[in-house]
C-alpha cells in the first residue's frame, strides 16, 4: 500500500486563507463580554430552593379536625408529642410507626410563642423525612 498517495500535495487547492488585516479590533468585544460576565456573576443566584408543602391552616380548624391528628408541639425547651416530651429522633420513629398503620394520618405542628421559624422547619423537615404528607402548621389558640 502506498501511503504517499494520501500525502498532501504541494498545490492543495484550498490553501490557508491569507491573514488579512482586521478592520474591527477584538478589544471592544472583550470589554463588552467582560461587562456581561460581571453582570451575570453578580445578578444570578445559586440558591438551591426547596419547598415544604403545607395544608393551609384555617381559623376554623377546631376540635373536629384536630381529633385523631398527631399534635407536635414545638416549645422553647423541646418537643412534645401529644403532650409528652420527646426527642427529635424518637419523634421520627414514632411518627414513622403511626404512618405505617395509617398513611393518611394528619399531623399538626404547633410552635409556641417566641419560637423562631427555623426550629419549626427542622421539625417539619424530620416529619416529611418520616413520610408525612398531610402536614399543617397551627397556632397556639391560648395566646
Amino acid at each position: 500500500m502506498n501511503f504517499h498517495a494520501f500525502a498532501r500535495p504541494r498545490s492543495w487547492p484550498i490553501a490557508r486563507p491569507r491573514r488579512r488585516r482586521q478592520l474591527i479590533s477584538l478589544t471592544p468585544l472583550i470589554d463588552v463580554v467582560f461587562i456581561l460576565l460581571v453582570f451575570f456573576m453578580l445578578a444570578s443566584s445559586f440558591l438551591d430552593w426547596r419547598s415544604i408543602v403545607l395544608a393551609a391552616p384555617s381559623d376554623g380548624a377546631g376540635a373536629a379536625t384536630i381529633e385523631g391528628a398527631l399534635l407536635v408541639e414545638v416549645r422553647g425547651q423541646g418537643l412534645r408529642l401529644s403532650g409528652r416530651p420527646i426527642g427529635l429522633d424518637e419523634l421520627e420513629i414514632r411518627v414513622r410507626a403511626r404512618l405505617a398503620e395509617n398513611p393518611d394520618q394528619p399531623i399538626f405542628v404547633r410552635p409556641s410563642a417566641g419560637v423562631p421559624l427555623q426550629r419549626a422547619v427542622v421539625v417539619l423537615d424530620r416529619l416529611s423525612a418520616a413520610g408525612a404528607e398531610r402536614l399543617s402548621l397551627i397556632r397556639d389558640r391560648a395566646q
Binding site: Q22, L26, A43, S45, R50, A56, A113, A120, D125, R139
Partner: protein
C-alpha cells in the same frame, strides 16, 4: 535565555494572543447565563430557613415574603397585613390550584408566620409552600 520581543504593528498576531482569553471568558459567560437564575431583588432581606428534605423548585407565581420583623411583600411589592387578603384573593381567583409560595425569614416568629398563613387560607389558598434552602 533569549525572549523574542513581540512584534508591534501587526494587529493579527496581537489578536491571536488574546483569543484563548476570549474563549475562556465566553465559556464563563455562558456558564453563568445557563446555571444562574436571574431573579428580582427582594424589597427587604430575607434569610430563608434551612432544611434537608423537601421538593426542589424555585419560588414562582404568587410569592409572599415575610421578613424577620413581620414585614410582608407580595410578588416584590411591599404590602400591609390588612391589604394582604384582598390582594392574594385577586391573584388566586383564576388559578386552578390556588397555591402560595411563602418565603419567610428563618428568624421570624413561627406563630406570626402561621397567622399570615391563616390569612392566605381565608384568601382562598388551598396549599402553602414554605420555601427553604437546602443545607447541602
Amino acid at each position: 535565555m533569549k525572549l523574542a520581543r513581540p512584534r508591534a504593528g501587526r494587529t493579527g498576531r496581537e489578536d491571536d494572543r488574546i483569543l484563548p482569553l476570549i474563549n475562556v471568558v465566553f465559556l464563563l459567560l455562558i456558564f453563568f447565563m445557563v446555571v444562574g437564575s436571574l431573579s428580582a431583588t427582594d424589597p427587604f432581606p430575607v434569610e430563608p430557613p434551612r432544611s434537608i428534605n423537601g421538593e426542589a423548585g424555585d419560588p414562582k407565581d404568587v410569592v409572599l415574603l415575610i421578613g424577620e420583623d413581620g414585614r410582608l411583600a407580595l410578588d416584590g411589592a411591599e404590602i400591609t397585613g390588612t391589604e394582604l387578603e384582598a390582594a392574594v384573593a385577586g391573584r388566586l381567583k383564576s388559578a386552578p390550584h390556588p397555591e402560595v409560595h411563602v418565603k419567610a425569614d428563618g428568624g421570624a416568629e413561627a406563630s406570626a408566620v402561621i397567622a399570615v398563613m391563616e390569612t392566605l387560607r381565608r384568601a382562598g389558598a388551598e396549599r402553602v409552600r414554605l420555601m427553604t434552602v437546602s443545607t447541602e
